[in-house]
Symmetry: C2
Subunit: 584 residues, 2 copies
């Protein structure tokens, strides 16, 4: 009997997999591999992320009956592979409606299904569009331990399922998530989960998804925290991982016994609806593969390092999951395209990145030489395709229609669109995906040409403010220990080079002034008055707000790009184009 108590430990394996939306065969393969690894490691329980079977977010694919049927079929395969182990895996369940669900599987049987209760319907999330909310908080007994399973958003609510489950006897809370990255979120998430663990005197294992999916990057960083909120293990960020942890459930019991408010709740299984009982208690010796870490011991990487890795993963996954091998980047000799090229090379390898420089009559000499130097530093192929002849042909062709008009943005945009056409021609001819190079400051202010520099399949740094572009370039050079991105690129004043002597600063405020204003206006919904009150020049604020408001139509036709801030352009921010309300 005392041995039984000694054995109240649970060995858990969190499979932080990179699932792909709709790739049932591929996701299943990853899951079966992880199940086998977990068995080999003697785990009692292996967990997978939210909707791991079909990938997250599946969006309107959920309305296709065959998609749901495939999900079911795939779940059955996981059930069949569960002999001798327990599994928690996310899938889309259907009864009278569709549910965002977790299957609780044990030893060849589907023993229970949990339905997500809190459905996020803000920011990038549309879960009310698809799912009905669950209303039950069962506790399962896995290897003699009370386990409460819940899903992603559920854990963010203090009085949510984790709390109910803990008070119903769950000593371990298994949360499976698909939590999209933005910078700063990891910290907030870890603090929240630590609080939740300590408040509920429960061990929490938090199994996050990893990988890129269109605009989103899931950053992994799965966690195990003990009942005092101390970090036991953490998964890699931006990489697949299998995190093994031995949970000292006895310590939970002991702590609860010392706490008067827990006394009467401690009897396991009193109100639970399902029980998962194991045939044998795990015989594996108690140990943790990774020694317990206190939060202090964890190396918190710099912000640019984290963002850079997010951009690499987001790019690699967009390219590969959409069936491309090579990418094409227009290199202007500027910092944006240089950074995008470095990210692409880090993610895809030198042979898979092609640069093209497309000088015009207005290009500075540095435009070509800096692009050449960058390509040399990165070791990538560089094409040179001057646009002068085509530009001249446009000017001749448009001469009659434009007769009597002064050169304006029309002629500037023609050049940008010639480059867009050349990039797309190379893409169509050779099957290379075009990466665009516009940053968030440009996307916000519309300092970008629709069908010109915006032409391409994926906008890598679309959500990166220009000031952060500089930080990322410096970070990458710091890593390289050489000037991978030439200092001439970093130091030159930004310019679109679409007319003689043009500089961004002629049209826009300096990015140091502009970026905080854009953040306040775009990400924080601050009014112009509020931003001015923070001490920014009135003209700068009004100008910036006006540019943001007036560029909505451009953003609507922009390629997707990676979200790294609290509010990215895209599904995260849904504004009408037709809109007479002006923030300025």
């Amino acid at each position: 009997m005392s041995q039984r108590v000694d054995a109240r430990r649970l060995r858990i394996a969190m499979a932080q997999i990179n699932a792909t939306v709709g790739d049932f065969a591929g996701n299943l393969q990853k899951m079966l591999k992880a199940v086998n690894q977990a068995k080999a490691l003697g785990a009692d329980l292996v967990t997978f992320p939210e909707l791991a079977i079909c990938g997250y977010p599946p969006e309107d694919l959920l309305f296709k009956p065959r998609f749901i049927a495939e999900t079911r079929r795939c779940l059955q395969k996981v059930v069949e592979a569960s002999s001798g182990i327990s599994i928690v895996v996310g899938f889309a369940d259907t009864k009278e409606d569709i549910y965002n669900a977790a299957a609780i599987i044990h030893d060849g049987k589907l023993v229970g299904v949990y339905h997500k209760i809190f459905l996020p319907n803000y920011g990038v999330f549309d879960e009310n569009r698809y799912f009905r909310a669950g209303d039950e908080c069962p506790v399962y007994i896995i290897a003699g331990v009370g386990v409460g399973v819940n899903i992603c958003e559920d854990i963010w609510y203090e009085a949510g399922p984790a709390n109910i489950q803990a008070y119903s006897g769950a000593e371990v809370i298994v949360n499976i998530s698909a939590s999209p990255y933005y910078f700063g979120k990891r910290d907030a998430r870890e603090k929240m989960i630590a609080t939740r663990a300590a408040d509920n005197v429960a061990i929490i294992s938090y199994n996050n998804l990893v990988g890129g999916q269109d605009e989103l990057v899931f950053d992994g960083g799965s966690l195990v925290l003990d009942e005092k909120g101390r970090l036991l293990a953490r998964g890699k960020q931006f990489e697949e991982d299998l995190i093994l942890a031995d949970l000292d459930v006895e310590a939970v019991s002991q702590t609860r016994l010392q706490n008067p408010r827990w006394k009467k709740e401690l009897v396991l299984g009193e109100e639970q609806e399902w029980q998962v009982t194991r045939a044998t208690v795990s015989e594996a010796p108690f140990n943790t593969e990774k020694p317990p870490l206190s939060p202090m011991q964890v190396e918190m990487r710099s912000l640019p390092a984290e963002i850079y890795d997010a951009l690499v993963l987001g790019t690699v996954d967009y390219v590969a999951k959409n069936g491309f091998k090579k990418v094409l980047i227009g290199l202007s000799g500027g910092i944006d395209s240089s950074l995008v090229a470095a990210i692409a090379v880090d993610g895809l390898g030198k042979p898979n990145v092609v640069g093209v420089t497309m000088p015009s009559r207005y290009s500075s000499p540095g435009s070509v030489s800096d692009a050449e130097l960058l390509a040399k530093n990165l070791g990538i192929k560089l094409l040179t395709i001057p646009i002068e002849k085509v530009f001249q042909a446009y000017q001749d062709t448009l001469a009659e229609a434009f007769k009597g008009t002064k050169p304006n943005v029309a002629e500037e945009n023609v050049q940008a669109r010639i480059r867009g056409n050349i990039l797309m021609a190379l893409s169509n001819k050779f099957g290379w995906l075009v990466l665009t190079t516009g940053n968030k400051s440009e996307m916000a202010t519309g300092y970008t040409t629709l069908y010109g520099d915006m032409a391409g399949g994926f906008a890598v740094i679309k959500d990166v403010p220009k000031t952060m572009v500089y930080e990322l370039a410096r970070y990458r050079n710091y890593l390289a220990e050489v000037e991978l991105i030439p200092s001439s690129v970093i130091d030159k004043p930004p310019s679109a080079e679409l007319r003689p002597g043009q500089k961004d600063i002629d049209t826009l405020p300096s990015y140091e002034l502009l970026d905080p204003v854009l953040k306040a206006y775009v990400e924080e919904d601050k009014s112009v008055e509020q931003i001015i009150a923070l001490g920014t020049d009135e003209e700068v604020v009004k100008r910036a707000a006006r540019l943001v408001d007036d560029s909505e139509y451009k953003r609507r036709q922009a390629p997707p790009g990676i979200k790294i801030t609290t509010r990215a352009f895209g599904r995260d921010r849904r504004l009408p184009i037709t809109n007479r309300f002006k923030g300025w």
Copy 2:
């Protein structure tokens, strides 16, 4: 006392206005004008559509505190204008959260606020993103009549607020709506409201919004139905209107008295929370401006007529509300661009529509002559800008990069993108909005060039299947009683003319075969197997499904266009680009 009973009539005016999102001043002006008209007509009550004060749908503008403050300020102006009349108007209410609300106003006072209970969060709707649902169904006494107010989706539920309000004493149900158009919806809507009226033995006034807003057209067609579900009045479709109706509330009482299930519910005001009492009963003589119509008497217009009007309104409103006067259309001599030009002329007038024909080496002679004939028929200016010189310059410029490759889609797309660049150059130079001309069959299959023929601000017929394009062209010619759109245009086989002798039929199945397959796959989520089972050739179905799946990335960068079907591309259909699940 008996006179009091005789006077149990309510004169209602429904102001079917075209509100613009964010145009507080403009919307207020329309509302004050309607209030004054309603007073002059002796109305007891004037109603306005859902969210009429700020326009619908305001989307993420609702997150801007200044937007909400403006809504409040504007509502106050309406309250101040209400002396001697009652008003029901939609606005965004804020308490601890935001509500989709109706203000009940009487004689200078805001006497009550109703909060929408059923929030649509499917299709084009995202109301759970913004609003908290209400949970009260009050009944107001207006001019001695029990009135239940509810909002749009609320009336679609049999056991919804209308039912509760009717059983709590409401004899008149005022529903204010912003119901977006798709073909067939008007019929469904009228049948539903007639059923709701008869079931609840209540007169229902249904005040819909009218106007275009980005992808949506609100079609008006406001309704008044009596307690037997018979049509009393109907507002114009696709036009602003003020619909006056004298409601014989006594008839409701009488009918209810004869019905045992109503007996005990008849006492007015028993459980209501607010009362609106009028100082004087209306002295105006009982009459109805429009004689009551039975549904049979209403002219049901043909489907093409209805769709055509929707396209005209959607186009006019997109152009005007976004501050444009003139539009530019690339005329290929084909039926799509011809139809778009006719729609633009009907909506904006001849002087505001410019055509441009951009022949290439592959253009048929008819391409230019048909465009010329169409422009002559429509009375619009036509520019001719051949692309040969520019195309040759591209070929020379790309010769080295393309060395050793065979001509393929790359060269074809270069031509389409030259045209896109020329259209945008003219747009940028002269401030004309470019209307694109792709139809739904092309958007579905990706038979369209990104940044080429897809380049432009508004995609007029984006949701119109090719077979309907033909019907609309014939309808327009029928109206004109001449061949406004030349028969040579209607009769020629569709072709992109991007290589010698190219025809759509070389690449796509015939549109007669294709369109029903696309409808089943795109709008109805039918699987390939299900569509084949309906009797369509397997190869055609698989091919179509594959083309739809593989073109998602193009649609993501498409300009907005007018929804006319049950599921349009755009916010109505949200599929991931990165997606390994194939319907075929």
